[in-house]
């Protein structure tokens, strides 16, 4: 078990009796739907998968602040400005809980940040689309946060304790975010012709990308099986996508607007929603870096990080000086 926290340590293919016992304990905890906590033994693959998933989620919250921050200074009423500011702040908060949850797996936040700004780490590709109009604040809240909720509610029961608990809090705030997004669209849909068009255009642009937030179709998602076995994930990508599309198909009627998917229907026979083919080539291209805003989003994060370096250095130096003074005194 000595190698447990050392990813560079020698990997023995023959487990020691201690390792076998630890693995048995881990398997039993997963089987009985209990929780793995930071000090428990866990397989390296579980640790790595969780670190990747939680940090990607944290990065998504942090990068996801940018499209909305783009409209804070131009929000069309002071009340909307205030709500939007609070929402983007919540996202920074979510990023922080999630980085903390990831840190319990042994990777410090500065390493995770470095992975993000070097372009090595991924984040939700939907944030690589531009927020062109005010209505995008509505569509992002309703569709993007809505998809995130469908994804995240089952994660509240994820087998890794710190992740599940972080998700409980995140989901509460996300559901407020989704409501405020829907409310923005309601207001626009009941407004002038130009406002209505703005709302429809935003829905048209975010519909496909939001459905793709659940990831590739099940047949094309090789990692899903293992994460489901570990009870990190509880439902497949396609199951979650079904749940989401059914939800928004109803909600869009309340808005009096439409989804850009004339083929969308509920098939009584299979009990499934049939939606149009999604553009997976575009999805892959955006993940690979070719989205309209990939370069911009990463550069903003890099700039903030580099321009803030002197501040962080000063804070560290100050803390050290105060510590020295305290020791002398």
């Amino acid at each position: 078990m000595a190698a447990q926290n050392d990813p560079n340590g020698p990997l023995s293919t023959v487990p020691t009796p201690e390792e076998e016992a630890a693995q048995e304990h881990f398997d039993a905890v997963i089987a009985e739907d209990s929780r793995i906590e930071p000090r428990d033994w866990m397989p390296e693959g579980y640790r790595k998968t969780l670190t990747r998933q939680i940090s990607q989620h944290a990065h998504s919250e942090i990068i996801g602040m940018q499209p909305e921050a783009n409209w804070i200074t131009r929000a069309p009423s002071l009340k909307r400005k205030s709500i939007l500011m609070a929402k983007v702040q919540d996202e920074a908060g979510h990023g922080l809980y999630l980085y903390s949850a990831a840190e319990t797996l042994g990777t410090p936040r500065d390493v995770l940040t470095e992975q993000l700004i070097s372009g090595k780490a991924k984040y939700s590709s939907i944030f690589n689309y531009p927020a062109r109009s005010w209505a995008d604040m509505g569509a992002i809240g309703w569709l993007v946060d809505g998809a995130a909720i469908v994804n995240q509610v089952p994660l509240c029961r994820a087998s890794y304790g710190p992740y599940g608990r972080a998700m409980v809090r995140v989901c509460k705030e996300e559901s407020f975010h989704q409501r405020q997004g829907f409310e923005i669209l309601m207001e626009l849909a009941a407004g002038t012709e130009a406002q209505k068009q703005m709302a429809q255009d935003a829905i048209n642009r975010f519909y496909g990308p939001s459905l793709m937030m659940f990831g590739p179709p099940d047949g094309d998602s090789p990692n899903s099986q293992q994460t489901m076995k570990w009870k990190i994930k509880r439902f497949t990508n396609d199951d979650l996508r079904q749940r989401f599309v059914g939800m928004i198909a109803e909600q869009v009627k309340v808005l009096g607007l439409t989804l850009p998917d004339p083929e969308l229907r509920f098939d009584e026979e299979t009990g499934k929603w049939i939606h149009k083919d999604l553009d997976w080539a575009e999805f892959k291209a955006v993940i690979a870096g070719a989205g309209p805003c990939n370069a911009q989003r990463l550069q903003r994060r890099r700039d903030a990080h580099h321009e803030g370096a002197w501040v962080r250095e000063a804070a560290a130096a100050y803390a050290e000086k105060m510590q020295q003074e305290a020791e002398v005194a």
Binding site: T73, K81, M85
Partner: protein, 283 residues
């Protein structure tokens, strides 16, 4: 729970002037529903305080997603949100005198109609400039709002009862950062001296009286009366941060008369652009 308690705790559509007492959390929505409009002098005064807070909120909000640490995105965002809340309350109250909403005042006035002070509209600069601007302003607002708790105008006093607690936190935040940056490294100290140099000219305007104060009586506080306490407190913070109070002259500024720096026009153009593209729309 009795019906009275229910309405007390939500206060949305049932707010009345009787709820407006110091210490009672007062929201802009409550003020909009208030019966009593302020007189012209008090409205002008609320407009000034509201414009200061609005312009500062607009400036600070630009830090969200750009801070040196995520914690600072949250902290500066919080301060921006507080300032925006104060602005909404003051502007809603001022607007009652003229039949205008907070949004009418924020989005549909021209630059020369804004009454904010020049210090509030100074660009963010680097984090050091933002912190120094925050230090200067939060000490000022804390002194001012504390005095205004005794304003003869109940609404002004009630708005300040909430605001003073918040600016007290803003002041703490600014003081802590001023010390970290003043003492931290050579570079951070140099940047703080630079921040002092660029902002100092606009400090004088904070304490200038105008004729309005003759009409306000006990409803307002003469800015000149805050000067000595501000000087003492500011100097003490700088001393604790190994920084020195500048000795340079103050600039001639007339923000309270609608004469602004070159910066405000840009700030307003950005803030107002969407609202003005859709006259009469609601959001």
């Amino acid at each position: 729970m009795s019906a009275t308690e229910t309405t007390e705790s939500y206060g949305d559509s049932t707010a009345s002037a009787t709820r407006i007492t110091p210490g009672n959390a007062l929201r802009p929505e409550d003020i909009q529903l208030q019966q009593g409009a302020p007189g012209e002098a008090v409205a002008q005064y609320a407009l000034r305080l509201g414009d200061d807070a609005l312009v500062l909120a607009q400036r600070l909000s630009n830090w969200i997603s750009r801070g040196p640490e995520i914690e600072e995105d949250i902290a500066l965002g919080n301060i921006a949100l507080d300032q925006l809340g104060h602005a909404r309350s003051f502007l809603s109250y001022a607007g009652l005198a003229w039949g205008k909403s907070e949004d009418d005042l924020a989005y549909w006035r021209e630059e020369e109609d804004f009454r904010s002070l020049h210090l509030f509209e100074q660009p963010n600069g680097d984090f050091g400039v933002t912190i120094m601007r925050q230090l200067m302003i939060s000490i000022y607002q804390h002194l001012l709002y504390t005095e205004l708790l005794d304003s003869s105008d109940e609404t002004i006093s009630a708005i300040c009862a909430k605001a003073v607690k918040e600016v007290d936190y803003h002041r703490d935040h600014a003081i802590m950062w001023t010390r970290r940056l003043g003492i931290g490294t050579e570079e951070s100290a140099r940047r703080m001296r630079h921040a002092l140099e660029v902002l100092w000219p606009y400090v004088g305007e904070l304490f200038e009286d105008e004729d309005l104060y003759d009409e306000l009586g006990d409803a307002g506080v003469r800015p000149s009366s805050l000067r000595e306490r501000w000087d003492t407190e500011f100097a003490a913070v700088l001393e604790s941060a190994d920084l020195e109070v500048p000795t340079g002259p103050f600039a001639l500024c007339r923000g309270r008369h609608g004469e602004h720096s070159e910066h405000l026009g840009h700030l307003l153009a950005e803030m107002q652009v969407l609202a003005r593209k859709h006259p009469g729309a609601s959001w």
